[in-house]
């Protein structure tokens, strides 16, 4: 029973690390989403050269390990004169990587919006950008909610890579505790449990968000 009290005892310490984990996850996610909102239409609507650049970005970022990207930004960029602190490097790496995945999610969601919606916007005299901004994007984001929340959950877990470059987030906080207490099993069980609870809560939030943002009348079926 003593191990239970030990775990309860280290929770406040781990929660401090969790706050950093959440900070990294939320910041990177928002950054990724902002970029994805530009990348996804660039792949669908933009002229070939722009579309090629957007596609190359997505392929490159998805085709290389996040850890390598993180190390490249933190240790590689200083050799070209760009020196970032560990926290910034971490947010930047995860955000840029997530942008590629979120762009693909959004592109898929955009494809699910009937082309007639775009046609209707165009027939009213809207530009492609206006049709995207007012008609396609708001509907695509609703379709993408489950996949985007899934990406956020993945991101919470991936943020543990930040510990590699010394950012004191949840996993790193756990490593410190192991170093002090030599009780790796209990500490990592507690760390895993915290990740699990946070991810479960995020998944639960999907349902609430989906319900809140559901298009009124949608439950009756799309006309």
């Amino acid at each position: 029973m003593e191990w239970i009290f030990f775990i309860i005892g280290i929770i406040p310490d781990l929660v401090e690390g969790l706050l950093t984990t959440l900070e990294i996850s939320v910041t990177s996610f928002v950054m990724g989403l902002a970029l994805a909102i530009v990348l996804a239409p660039a792949r669908v609507f933009a002229p070939k050269p722009v579309s090629f650049i957007a596609r190359s970005y997505v392929e490159l970022l998805r085709g290389t390990p996040l850890l390598v990207q993180l190390l490249l930004i933190y240790f590689g960029l200083p050799s070209v004169g760009i020196k970032l602190d560990a926290y910034t490097a971490c947010v930047l790496a995860i955000g840029l990587n997530s942008a590629a995945y979120q762009a693909e999610i959004l592109r898929g969601a955009m494809k699910s919006i009937p082309e007639t919606q775009f046609l209707a916007a165009e027939s009213l005299g809207m530009s492609t950008a206006q049709a995207y901004r007012y008609v396609v994007l708001p509907q695509a984001l609703r379709v993408a909610i489950p996949a985007l929340v899934n990406e956020f959950v993945t991101l919470i877990k991936e943020s543990s890579l930040a510990s590699v470059i010394g950012v004191v987030e949840l996993t790193r906080r756990g490593e410190y505790l192991v170093a002090y207490t030599f009780r790796a099993l209990e500490v990592y069980v507690a760390v895993a449990l915290i990740y699990f609870v946070v991810c479960a809560l995020a998944s639960q939030a999907t349902r609430i968000l989906e319900k809140k943002l559901m298009i009124p009348g949608y439950e009756r079926g799309v006309a």
Binding site: A120, S123, L124, G217, Y218, G221
Partner: protein, 250 residues
Amino acid sequence: MTSTVLLVEGLKAGYGDRVVLRGVDLSVKRGEKVVIMGPSGSGKSTLLKCIVRLVEPWAGRIVLDGEEVTSNSVDLRKIRAKTGFVFQQYNLFPHMSVLRNLTLPLEVVKKLPKEEAERRALKLLRMLGLEEFADKYPLQLSGGQQQRVAIARALAMDPVLLLLDEPTSALDPELRYEVLETLFEIAKQGRSMLIVTHELDFAEAAADRLVLLDNGVVIEEGDPWEMIHNPRTERTKRFLVKIMRKSVSA
């Protein structure tokens, strides 16, 4: 201001290798209501879409309200904002309220201030008996109500020409009636209209001219009553018999 609002000359268009329009000539005078009929695949919808270049014409000339639609330097957004297009499947924006469906194009295309856009939209909704649905969302409405909102959205832009692509064909007979009533109401107001429909009642009672399209060309046009009761060609006769049978069975 010319008396012709739309002029189409030698219009050819298609999709890939498939030729749909093989040289269509058509004109609509200001205030005139022209009904286009024809068997499915005859090119009716393609013709309407070519007028606002939602489908790119291959050859021919289109002049709308004095502006060359087919010219390379034309401002397509301006042309489209001048017309009101009503689709068969309504194509309302489902994530916006009925009122927002009307005010959005007024604000972002016509650049009207929010209050002015709302005032104009509400006036139109009131006129078409749709005011009670202003805060509802399209998917909460029946098909007929959605189509009437789509007509209101097109009218809100104060178009020089209203283009309606089979506005009643996706609806049950009951719902068709309420949309037809709305169309009769608009027709009375003297707005120029080009309507693709198989509604013989509407063509006979409200249209100034009936155009029959077949296999991508106009095969007959004239006074609707005359064409329906004394068709000149055998092809027209056969087509009319077919749609009469259909409307009886509906």
